[in-house]
Every structure is written in structure tokens, then in C-alpha cells.
């Protein structure tokens, strides 16, 4: 229960279903 000197607190959600195809792949990388 100690008071906390908070810089940042976050709920960081990843919505995988809304990612573009092949996360992280730059355009035309394989072409």
C-alpha cells in the first residue's frame, strides 16, 4: 500500500486481428 511515484502506468493492448497482413514486413521486401 505504499504510495508510488508513478511516471507512467498503462494497459497496453495488442489487437492482432486488426494488424495489416504480415506484421513488420516492409512494402515490396520480397519483390
Amino acid at each position: 500500500g505504499a504510495p508510488l511515484p508513478i511516471l507512467v502506468m498503462a494497459l497496453y493492448g495488442r489487437v492482432f486481428e486488426r494488424d495489416p497482413p504480415r506484421l513488420g514486413q516492409g512494402p515490396g521486401k520480397l519483390q
Binding site: 508510488l4 502506468m9 498503462a10 497496453y12 495488442r14 506484421l23 513488420g24
Partner: protein
Amino acid sequence: MDTFIAAVYEHAVILPNKTESPVSTEEALLLINKNIDILESAIKLAARQGAHIIVTPEDGIYGWIFTRETIYPYLEDIPDPEVNWIPCRDPRRFGYTPVQERLSCLAKENSIYIMANIGDKKPCNATDPHCPPDGRYQYNTNVVFDSKGRLTARYHKYNLFEPEIQFDFPKDSELVTFDTPFGKFGIFTCFDIFSYDPAVVVVKDTQVDSVLLPTAWYNTLPLLSAVPFHSVWARAMGVNVLAANTHNTSMHMTGSGIYSPEAVRVYHYDMETESGQLLLSELRSRPRQHATPAEVNWSAYARTVKPFSSGQADFPGKIYFDEFSFTKLTGSAGNYTVCQKDLCCHLTYKMSESRMDEVYVLGAFDGLHTVEGQYYLQICTLLKCQTTNSRTCGEPVGSAFTKFEEFSLSGTFRTKYVFPQIVLSGSQLALERYYEVSRDGRLRSRG
């Protein structure tokens, strides 16, 4: 073995000089050996202290300052581990492979599993429609040598970070695992942790106990720092994570650790020195047998709450290129709601005292992040602004004097992959005993 001793080494990699043309193979090997000399000391020290496995960082043997051409002299052909090869015993079996030979010998002579990150080269030709014009694929690759020096695992990084122009994307994702007397291990690399495939898939589908995570992770404060994110990923996925980061303060690369599902066992974050650091900790070999992570419905509470009225206008602000909706906290206690698209974030808080020289905001982001990779995020955050000027909200900040006695943060998330994190003044990680996550999706203070 019910437990084992894990080691990670945060390595201050010696980088090559930036060059437009490739160096000779001999010159490349000179730099490689300087780095492996340092890793060798860490490996020997870890082995003497009883470590069973050690993880070294991504780009830990020759760095990242390359073009496709200039990295070529550093690459080796890394065979499929099915060939059953101990490079230390049979170094010429797959051509000239001095890096694999040396790593294999270090593993064998010190009876320790070693994971290292190097580059693999694979020739291709015009019969392959995807073959690059220079006739070869180049892969960012993790290799594992077992305690006998055998090549045990090889993993090609699937989700390259956009600046990694020196490497090719593998066509298919690889779920790479290996068994040891101290549990089953999965492997992926740095930015892969942001993806479903292979990061989530390797945990869900292959039931690994521990994950080896070499990274060259530059901390993008305030939200994406290595230690908070890697540690909460271990907790959320119910596995041990052995994360070894490269150490380079000018690139904000630091933050390595050994994390179990229950706790942060040990971590290292150092923006003050240019030194490497060895970390060791004992872990359960099969953490799933002891506890499975509690199923959290991340929107359950937030959807039952009538939005709090803040009585003041929300305003936009950016956190690492993403445009958030912010609302400023006024007073030493209160209830606030801020929404963006489908996401509404609720905060209830109580400070010890409200300070005139520090400003906090509640922020919401629901959108596609598009810089250095594309990934969809839903984020609720409480953060301290850099100054009392609201335009600085979302900029990195290092210290805070305002203390929160109570807090509860929740959001109407449309995903079950939510990673809660709290960073304190001085970039220190808030330990688990200070907060909890309720099953209805609230990140709240204990006590």
C-alpha cells in the same frame, strides 16, 4: 530437474566502422572475435556460478550498422539442426564456419547451453521467384548450442524491424523449440514479441516452458521500455522469459532480465555506464505445473461503468508518433474517463498531494501504429507530462515526485492481449506487490 539457473548477458557490442563497401572476411572475423572474447568471459563466469543456459543479445556479435552488402562477410551458412552437428568436433563439415565453431566449443567446454544471434546466408537462383537479385537470402538468426556443443536450434527472425535492411524476411514463420532436462524452450527475436506469429503461437501451440529472447531494443519512453514490456509478457503468457538486450546508451538500448510468470526475478537497466552485465536467477523448469495465469476479462469492469464526466475538454497529444486523446487530471483525487474510437479508459485515483509543478494526464489510443512496423494498438495510460505545459504530454520524462496512494485503471478493450505496466520515478519497475490486476480488468493499487 525441477529448477535451473538461467543467465542473460547484456552486452555492450563493439560495432564495426560504418563503411560503404564490404570489409574482408578476415577483418570481419577480427571484430567478431573481439565481441566473442567478451561473451566468453561472461559465459565462463555464468558456468562457474552454475548456470545451465545463457542468452546473449540480438546483434551481439557484430552489431547492426550494415547494408545488405556490408554484412555479407560476417555471415555463415547455418545448417538445419537435424544434421546433428557439433561444430567444435567437426568444424569443416559445412564450409568455413568459425563463429559456430567457437560458440560450439564454448558450450562444450563449459557444459552450458548457449544462445547467440548471428547471420545466416542461403544461396538461391532464378528458379525461385523471390530470390533477391544478389542470389542469396540473408537471415537474422538465433542459434542454440547444447552443453555438448551440438547445434540444437536455429531460428530465422520472422518480423524484422523496418530498419533491418541487411536481412530478408523468411517466407514462412518457424515455430522453433527444443527440449532440455530443464523444460521445453521456444525462441524468437526482439520485435517478434509484438506479433501473434510466432510469439503467441509458439507459447500456445507448442506449450513451451521458457522463451529465449535476444533483443536490440531501444527504449521508446514512456510506453515501450524493454523491461516493463518483456516482464509483463512473461506474466501474461505464463512462461519464463530470458531477455538479453544489447547495451548502447546512445541508442537507448538497455534493459535485460529474467522473468517468471509470477515475478521479475532479476533485471538490469543502466543508462549511466557503457558496461555489460551478467544476470543469473533460478527458475522453475515447468512453471505451468505450478500456476496458470488467471483469465482476465479486460473489458468487464469498464463496460459496466458509466463514463466519468471530467468537466473539461480533452486534447490531442502524441506518444511515439501515435495521436492519443488526453484529459488532464486536476486535484489530488478524482474519477476521469477519456475515449478514442471504440476505447474508453476510466481512471480513479488518489494522490498523497497534488503538486503545482507536475501535471498528469489520462490518455487513450485506439489505432494502427505505423512507424517502424505496423501494428494495431488499444492503450489506456496515466502519465506524467514532461513539463506543466500540456503540449509536452507524451514526451519522455525521467522523474516524478507526485505519489499515488490509490489508483484503478481500466478500459473497454476488444482484445484479450493486454499488457499492464507501471514505471516509477527513475525508470524503476513497480514490483508486483504494489499492484494487482483484477479478473474484471482493473489495474489497481494494493492495500
